[in-house]
């Protein structure tokens, strides 16, 4: 029998079993923000990194590979091959960009959420995504790059983010689908990263997966309220499911046979292949859709007893590559919104930097007065 609880992925007990209070989680981020130095450090310039002075082993250095094989974490101050560092910078920053760009499709519905509870939960959820972006930019910075340089790459189109966010959120049901399907797929991808060989990334992922687990449940809860609702709400849910099913399966990337081989597996960064992850996602999501009474838009979908998995139809790889290359419904709007926000905020960041500079000179002569709150 399919029950609500059994519908959810139990990937790694340590990650998914911790109860998360979204408001407490977001409060924690705020507290961390408040604990920062009196003047905010908004995107420091690139500086010399301690690791620059270290020996840089070859990509197949036996000692380095042995350390990874022994499941020892690589830390920022450790020696690492240049390619390992570059791979991590690319992967972590793409992940960070995805979190920040991912705030946009859902953010557009905060002002239209149909109840105060949904409005509050969605706001907390999108805030979490911003927090994830911050953790990840910080994790990337431990590899000797600045947030500024990573954002420059995003804004100029040199860096990628998850293509799923280039699809439009046409109805409220899409907000449920993003939580249930998109965040569900993200969890499938990200849980193995909690054991990634690079310490700062692995630790960031533990926290992120805990919060994503909550996000998936809130998405599922939105969809459940729709399928239990009026005829119009049910139709809204089904139509949305049909829009998001295939793009979600594409989130796992090209087939293994078409993927460019990297050393990510040897380096303990990638633990499972694209096709393995995609299959896992289909296997756990099909029963969830059945529980909700939604029809999966795939006539080829059926249980294969011999394989012990669901078979499913072919993905539209032309669409996949079209969206990756910028031809999706919202590529331009998403990037433009990020660039506009960044450019409009330039004077704010400059004011903070200038004020901090003035205070630095004044501080020695006169301690800052506190404004009583």
């Amino acid at each position: 029998m399919i029950t609500f609880a059994s519908c959810f992925v139990r990937c790694e007990a340590t990650v998914t079993s911790v109860p998360i209070d979204p408001l407490k989680a977001t409060f924690w981020i705020w507290v961390e923000y408040r604990r920062q130095k009196p003047e905010p450090v908004l995107m420091q310039a690139e500086t010399a990194h301690p690791a620059d002075a270290l020996r840089r082993p070859e990509r197949n250095d036996p000692a380095f590979l042995a350390k990874i094989a022994a499941e020892q974490k690589i830390e920022p101050q450790d020696e690492m091959p240049d390619d390992y560092r570059k791979h991590l910078v690319r992967q972590i920053s793409q992940h960070a960009h995805s979190e920040i760009v991912g705030m946009l499709p859902e953010g557009g519905w905060i002002t239209r959420a149909p109840s105060l509870k949904r409005k509050e939960v969605l706001l907390a959820k999108v805030q979490d995504e911003g927090g994830h972006g911050l953790y990840l930019y910080a994790a990337a910075e431990t590899l000797g790059v600045s947030r500024q340089s990573l954002l420059d790459a995003l804004h100029s189109g040199r860096a990628k983010y998850s293509s799923i966010f280039n699809y439009a959120t046409e109805t409220w049901a899409d907000i449920g689908m993003i939580g249930w399907l998109v965040d569900g797929a993200a969890i499938m991808n990200q849980v193995p990263l909690c054991r990634c060989s690079y310490g700062p990334y692995a630790r960031a992922m533990i926290r992120i997966c805990k919060e994503e687990s909550f996000h998936q449940r809130q998405g599922f809860d939105i969809v459940r309220s729709l399928v239990e609702g009026t005829t119009e709400q049910k139709a809204m849910a089904q139509a949305s499911f049909e829009r998001w099913w295939w793009p979600t399966l594409m989130m796992f990337g090209p087939h293994d046979s078409d993927s460019v081989h990297t050393q990510a597996s040897d380096w303990g960064i990638k633990r499972l292949s694209n096709d393995e992850l995609r299959q896992r996602f289909v296997d756990v999501t099909v029963p969830q859709a059945a529980y909700l009474g939604l029809t999966i838009p795939d006539p080829a979908l059926c249980w294969n007893a011999e394989r012990g998995h669901y078979d499913f139809g072919p993905l539209d790889w032309d669409e996949f590559w079209r969206v990756v290359k910028g031809g999706g419904p919202c590529n331009e709007a998403r990037l433009s919104a990020r660039v506009t926000a960044f450019e409009n905020g330039a004077w704010v960041r400059e004011a903070a930097a200038e004020h901090a500079r003035k205070r630095k000179f004044e501080r020695a002569a006169k301690p800052a007065e506190k404004i009583a709150a």
């Binding site: 408001l23 977001t26 409060f27 981020i29 705020w30 923000y33 408040r34 905010p40 908004l42 995107m43 920040i100 705030m103 946009l104 953010g107 905060i110 002002t111 239209r112 149909p114 109840s115 105060l116 509870k117 949904r118 409005k119 509050e120 706001l123 907390a124 999108v126 805030q127 911003g130 927090g131 972006g133 911050l134 930019y137 409220w172 939105i222 309220s225 609702g229 009026t230 119009e232 709400q233 919104a337 506009t340 926000a341 960044f342 409009n344 905020g345 330039a346 004077w347 704010v348 960041r349 400059e350 004011a351 903070a352 200038e354 004020h355 003035k358 007065e369 404004i371 009583a372 709150a373």
Partner: protein, 243 residues
Amino acid sequence: MAATTLVFGVLPQADALRLADTCLLWAHRLSEWCGHGPAIEEDIALTNTALDAIGQARALYQAVALARGDGSSEDTLAYFRDPDEFCNLSIAAVANGDYAQTVLRSLYLSAWFISVWEGFAHTNAIELHRFAAESAKAARMCFRHASDWAVRFGDGTGESRARMERALLLLEPFVLELLDAELTGSPAQSRSGSFRQRIDACFAQATLSPLSVGSSRGSSAAERRALLTEMQSLARLHPTARW
């Protein structure tokens, strides 16, 4: 009569709705920044204030609905009242403008809410006392954040100072209401003193002129109508739906 039933046992419904509507519309305006702030840290900070304000609005609407006992709920009060029935402070509905204007509105509203919530510190109504104490904490946190930025803008670059001065002019017509709005259990006279004190201390550190209060009163009725049209659109399209 339902209309005379007090909220939390002591607060007239009109006062509770005024506080709730102000919290909700302010939260809505702050939430419009989500994903569009000048830095990720600011997206998170503004969202935090918005979450606090929505939480306060919900608690107050729920208390009003309970006092009415007529089948009202937090959602019927938020989504199914017409714009003209809202009784928020006008400044809450004003469109965001640039970041200086957003910061200045937060500075004014958080200073106002600190004095309102602290005004209930000695009430015998336990629920209101608890709610006001929590809300005062949140308002103080918001005030710290807003005053930090007001100081950076006033004493930052030429552009940030010019933007801050423009924001002061734009929001000046809404200050008088902050000073003279009457609320039961929280007299305007005692509130306006602490409000002015907080704002002037911040402006002094920001090297800005002391608070200027004009005699005219601004209206944000048109902006409120547009805000509510958007906010209530989906709920009103499916009036019998549960979400």
